[in-house]
């Protein structure tokens, strides 16, 4: 009987790879430089593996695409917080990759009682990658009025100005202090777990794999003792409410878009310090009077501009489209095309699927007896695409990166971005449709018009960047 396991990319990869080596699985393709996501075991001929973003693993195991999985318990609990009857069993605590989830605030004197009182008067805003756990914690703490900002990353950048709380994951308590955050509630302590699908557990013989992993993790070199040192909290200068008057709030991207962004700012004659930051500073100083900068994920920017936390943000048109499909009456609009970071948003299928274009695809779906599965990081674009093309009964599977891994077993179609198409070809996939081209752009809110001083200032920043772009 074939056995499938979902293995993590990212932070748990190297430890997990050593574990599998000790356990003698012969999973040679599983290492940091892996370029293919499908793996075979040379020890167990019936065992295959696929690499996923850690967050996708509990979901993939719960829906039965995989018999086993290795991931942090934080993501298992995130699934169970919303779907407590998910078919996933926690088999063994593997001990490494430990951390904690904390509700944190940016204010030194924050406590839950004060927040509860605040929730009686207004809305308590919680930013987190763990949206389900954030919601269940807010309900459990009986916050009467709250809103959750599900973010792709960098949740700690939001408090105190743009959220009252963030639910974040840290591997040591000192991390919170270095972010300038204060813990308000400890939500969960976690480590890496071996998990199994409930049905597989009941009918398949998984004992050799489980035994070798459990035995192997005893032989793993121990993690460093959990450091509970207190240290001192990094002093941060938050923006006060007063400063917010007339202040332009600008969001700049983190990650690989920082280098081109820096170039553009230089070209426009705008100075910025500590961006990209080696110490994880998310509040670099910018050389324009009356402008405050925060560094957040481009995916999260349209929502943050819509709800008024930022006046200007630099993101991609793909993420703007995804936001506008979800919230058609959102006040966010594109102000300037920066003409950089060009990608195509495309529909991708396996080379084996006998379709060449959307019309073929529709015919193909018409003959299916099970729902058609569309996997994408762009949930709303994918949903809209499936709807507009009359895909009939379909499901959108949200992913958190490495979407190519989903085809052909775990999804039928991807909505993906690609620069050159090479990654797609390497994974034995083909493009059947191009939805649109996306470049970096400046976005802003139509609501800024109500404040003429701010509107004027925002316009001058956009114009400075326009000159820089056109002078290219």
């Amino acid at each position: 009987m074939d056995i499938k396991i979902a293995l993590p990319k990212g932070r748990l990869l190297s430890k997990t790879a050593s574990l599998l080596q000790i356990a003698g699985w012969g999973m040679d393709g599983y290492h940091e430089g892996a370029r293919l996501y499908h793996l075979k075991s040379s020890t167990y001929p019936n065992l295959s593996a696929k690499m996923f973003h850690e967050r996708d693993i509990p979901i993939q195991v719960a829906i039965g695409n995989y018999d086993l999985g290795i991931c942090g318990r934080d993501w298992v609990e995130e699934l169970l917080a919303k779907y407590p009857n998910s078919s996933v069993i926690k088999v063994a605590d593997l001990g490494y990759g430990t951390g904690s989830l904390y509700m944190v605030s940016g204010l030194a004197d924050a406590d839950m009682n004060a927040l509860r009182r605040r929730a009686e008067r207004g809305t308590v805003r919680v930013a987190s990658e763990y949206a389900n756990l954030a919601e269940s914690s807010a309900l459990k703490e009986r916050l009467s009025r709250f809103s959750i900002f599900p973010v792709w990353g960098g949740a700690e950048a939001y408090p105190p100005e743009d959220a009252d709380l963030a639910l974040i994951s840290v591997s040591a308590d000192a991390e919170m202090l270095s972010m300038g955050m204060v813990p308000v509630a400890r939500v969960l302590d976690f480590s890496t777990y071996l998990i199994a699908n409930q049905n597989s557990w009941g009918v398949k013989d998984l004992n050799k794999m489980i035994a070798s992993i459990c035995e192997g993790c005893g032989r793993l070199p121990a993690d460093k003792e959990r450091q509970e040192e207190t240290g001192t909290r990094r002093e941060m200068t938050w923006l006060s409410r007063r400063e917010k008057d007339g202040l332009i709030r600008l969001a700049l991207p983190d990650g690989h878009q920082q280098a081109p962004m820096l170039q553009l700012l230089e070209k426009a004659g705008i100075k910025i310090e500590d961006y990209p930051s080696a110490t994880g500073n998310r509040r670099p100083d910018i050389g324009i009077e009356g402008v405050a900068v925060k560094v957040i994920r481009p995916q999260d920017m349209p929502l943050q501009v819509a709800n008024g936390n930022f006046d200007l943000a630099i993101t991609g048109r793909d993420w703007l489209a995804d936001h506008l499909y979800q919230f058609p009456s959102s006040p966010v609009q594109e102000l300037l095309d920066l003409k950089s970071g060009k990608v195509r948003v495309v529909a991708v299928v396996s080379q084996e699927m006998p379709v060449a274009d959307v019309a073929d695809l529709r015919k193909f779906i018409g003959g299916m007896t099970v729902p058609f599965r569309v996997a994408s990081e762009y949930v709303n674009i994918a949903d809209r695409y499936a709807r507009d093309n009359h895909f009939g009964r379909y499901r959108v599977i949200p992913t958190w990166g490495a979407t190519e891994a989903f085809l052909p077993d775990d999804a039928d179609l991807l909505i993906e971005n690609t620069e050159t198409g090479r990654t797609i070809a390497r994974h034995n996939l083909k493009i059947v449709d191009t939805l649109f081209e996306s470049t970096a752009c400046i976005i802003g809110s139509t609501r800024i018009k109500t404040d003429s001083v701010k509107a004027e200032k925002a316009k001058s920043i956009v114009e400075a960047l326009r000159t820089a772009v056109e002078g290219r």
Partner: protein, 425 residues
């Protein structure tokens, strides 16, 4: 691909709708006669309406259908109405605040996620809210009204169980529990876990040895409560106001000759209950319940307005009402057939006259389907204008006017067992 309904939902067939409507009709008719006015609230409400302490228990909140609206970029969620009372309290605050007493009723669906999909996730209830008064007589009014509706529906073996949220809370305060634990036990009781109290262990000897066992006993008269009051007077003076209130309400019920069972430990209901809690059963099936919720409207910012109410569970009542209640006699029904399209106008006119006279009239659409309609009326372009056929007689009857047709039907439809008298099965 096979079409199917959503997991956890149900369709109502014509028969089931007949049951549904009769329950609704009896409920509405009684409420109107008692001076209650009907309201309807939206299916979608803000989540925060239901999240403050003292509204829904966390276990219920974990099952509400919540989502971001199309303009939900602020991150604030909306829900499909998980409860009938809170939206009505919201409506009162929105539109009726300061107007004093309000007697309101509603027929509504509520939505609660049930993961297995075996039970229905959309439930129907009919309920009343009596807002702006907190006398024992107002509690009794609701109980009597609820029993009267069940009586009109001819439900058998209806029993009334009483408890008191104030009493349960006062008791929990005396147990050595943290505020969080108190809340949890209270929520367990409200979620219907009758053993939540029985399992408690208390250090105070008098409570442990005397009071808890007594609270777990069931009583059938105000005497039971008076006995409780007597033993608790010295050691638990804070019980007294709740016991007095409880005694006042049951005394009225006793006066009216209403039988009840006091079962303090089984106070199933909502976290917003503060006073009397009543549950209605038919046999072992719970068919409704209600209670006093004096703190809900204040907690929602509506000022110091007391209230109480009840709801009857239509889905459960539908399985219990007898056919004699919902199979109402129907007037004679007639199938109208025209021989050619040219007679269509004649046919529609004749049908319209018959309907106005109280008959049920359908057209023969030529599909040749079998029908159990006794009367067939043929419309002809020539004399005789109408030919009426009776399923029970071989000879057709000819007529020139609709009045003649009606006279024949009326004369012959006298006997009870004719198909025209029988409701569709």
């Amino acid at each position: 691909m096979r079409v199917q309904k959503c997991k956890g939902t149900r369709d109502l067939s014509p028969d089931e709708m007949a049951r549904f409507r009769i329950i609704e009709e009896v409920f509405r008719e009684r409420c109107l006669r008692w001076g209650y006015q009907e309201v309807r609230t939206p299916t979608i409400e803000y989540l925060h309406l239901f999240t403050s302490a003292g509204t829904l228990t966390p276990s219920m909140l974990g099952k509400v259908y919540s989502f971001l609206d199309w303009d939900g970029w602020s991150g604030e969620r909306v829900v499909l109405r998980p409860d009938g009372t809170i939206p009505v309290a919201r409506l009162y605050i929105d539109a009726m605040a300061g107007k004093g007493l309000a007697r309101l009723f509603y027929v509504t669906n509520t939505f609660i996620f049930e993961e297995t999909g075996k039970k229905t996730r959309e439930r129907w209830q009919c309920g009343t809210e009596l807002i702006g008064v907190n006398t024992p007589a107002s509690d009794a009014e609701l109980i009597v009204l609820a029993l009267e509706i069940l009586n009109k529906l001819k439900l058998k073996n209806v029993t009334l169980r009483l408890s008191h949220a104030g009493l349960i809370k006062a008791l929990l305060e005396r147990l050595d529990l943290s505020p969080e634990e108190q809340e949890r036990v209270f929520d367990r009781i409200l979620d219907g876990d009758a053993r939540a109290l029985a399992g408690m262990r208390i250090d105070k000897a008098e409570l442990d040895s005397i009071l808890l066992p007594l609270l777990n006993l069931k009583g059938h008269s105000s005497g039971f409560l008076k006995n409780l009051r007597a033993i608790s007077a010295r050691s638990l003076p804070e019980f007294e106001p709740y016991l007095n209130n409880f005694i006042d309400v049951v005394s009225i019920l006793e006066n009216l000759g209403i039988k009840y069972q006091i079962d303090i430990a089984s106070g199933a209901g909502f976290e917003y209950y503060t006073g009397i809690i009543f549950q209605l059963y038919s046999g072992r099936e719970k068919i409704g319940g209600g209670g006093r919720y004096d703190n809900l409207i204040p907690a929602m910012g509506g000022g110091d307005v007391p209230a109480s109410g009840f709801a009857l569970y239509i889905d459960r009542l539908m399985n219990l009402v007898e056919p004699e209640i919902w199979k109402k006699p129907v007037p004679p029904s007639v199938l109208v057939r025209s021989e050619a399209d040219a007679e269509m106008k004649e046919a529609f006119d004749a049908a319209s006259l018959l309907r106005d006279a109280g008959y049920t009239v359908a057209f023969d659409l030529g599909s040749g389907e079998p029908t159990d309609t006794r009367w067939l009326l043929e419309i002809r372009g020539k004399k005789p204008k109408y030919v009426l056929r009776d399923k029970f007689e071989p000879r057709a009857i000819e007529a020139e006017t609709i009045n003649e047709v009606m006279a024949v039907i009326e004369e012959k439809s006298g006997h009870q067992d004719s198909p025209a008298e029988r409701a569709p099965s």
